[in-house]
Subunit: 105 residues, 2 copies
Amino acid sequence: MKKTNIYEANGFDAKSMKRLLVHDSPYFKVLNFNFKAGQQLPVHSHDIEGEVSLVVLEGEGEFLGKDGSSMPAKAGDVLICPISDPHGLKAGSDLRLLVTIAPPI
Amino acid sequence: MKKTNIYEANGFDAKSMKRLLVHDSPYFKVLNFNFKAGQQLPVHSHDIEGEVSLVVLEGEGEFLGKDGSSMPAKAGDVLICPISDPHGLKAGSDLRLLVTIAPPI
């Protein structure tokens, strides 16, 4: 068993989003990204098999998708998509995001 | 892309913990369990390959392990273990838990 408190282990940075690798194994990769208001994870995709979940732990903003599309994002939202689909996030407030990728990349 | 707000989609039940299947695919299974104070996910394990993550979104309590062991659990905690390791949770307050299992069972 491995326990990490991501609220204590990862903070915020005025210059850019802060990334914490929580776990990496043959089964999944778990990452935490913290954004100050206005910061973003640019839209990207990977041409491989698998899925990614994006969980908003705190804050609000927008999930970003292909062709400039977006959807509101807020605490409690769980977004799931193929890793090969364009995805990203823009923070409207300070925002904590937990990302799980399976299988890991 | 599939978005679920688990704070809106799943509530609490005084009789027993409330379970919401958020996602099931060949890559992972995502579940949300909500506990009223005192409710628990009994210690259990599965004799298969894979890992499980337990993320506390709100509340506090105890992660349960083998031989009656326990560890404090609070918001922001990410616990990761093999599915074959005994694991469970007991809520000390109303508590929201997000569980990811890869590969799915």
